[in-house]
């Protein structure tokens, strides 16, 4: 699992590459836990190369949501593969998180 951060003005884009499971979730957790992340208005999660997510990966996002909301940082997922979106859907998390098809929609969200 590789996480690449691309900061630009008030938006931080995180590119996820690989499989997010109970072994690799710590990599993402470390990135989302950085205090500086709360200085951005928006954090965009590019899921184009995210090929797998388990409950451990979902748990990392859920565990930071309140902190982001309290700091008025919007978390938006985009470019999500169907099989990964299906996992969010099965738990009903697609209704609680902002998931859009493309970068342009993520920027507009």
């Amino acid at each position: 699992m590789k996480v690449t951060a691309q900061p630009s003005a008030d938006t931080l884009t995180l590119l996820l590459d690989g499989e997010l499971d109970a072994s690799s979730a710590i990599v993402l957790d470390t990135e989302l836990a950085k205090p500086d992340i709360l200085n951005y208005r928006k954090v965009l999660i590019d899921c184009a190369k995210l090929s797998y997510i388990s409950s451990a990966g979902l748990g990392v996002f859920i565990s930071h949501l309140q902190r982001f909301q309290d700091a008025n940082v919007k978390l938006v997922f985009f470019n999500m593969q169907e099989k990964v979106f299906n996992v969010f859907e099965i738990l009903g998390l697609d209704a609680l998180m902002t998931i859009v098809p493309s970068l342009s929609e993520a920027e507009a969200a």
Binding site: A22, I62, V87, L91
Partner: protein
Amino acid sequence: MKSALRIACSRVHLQQVRDFVRNYLNSRQLSEVTVNQVVLAVDEVVANFIIHANGEDETQFLDLTLAFDQHDLNVEIADNGDTIFLPGPTASPDFHAYIQQGRKGGMGMTLVNRLMDRVEFFTRGNHTVCHLSKHLA
């Protein structure tokens, strides 16, 4: 045809488990979403055995067996550790509470129960065994 895999109880082997399940299902004409659902269910149970039942003790091991009975996939995950691990009934996660609490866990078995047709945990001697099955037409 049956396929078997033995892994030590370390979460670094989860990738190997997922590749094992994917390779086994590869010969069937299944959608990517369906394959991923089975892979996820097995990964969740194996992760629970590794982390919660065995405390990531690499001297312990798990045996996985995959077999098709016509269109029904049957998975056995046998924990060779001596800690009996029998998850109780799972309630639907209250995500609003999880978000407020910053909670990371508590979704794995819910996923497994929603993804598979049958989920059973039972004891065999001093060990715990999990059986999962799913109809894959």
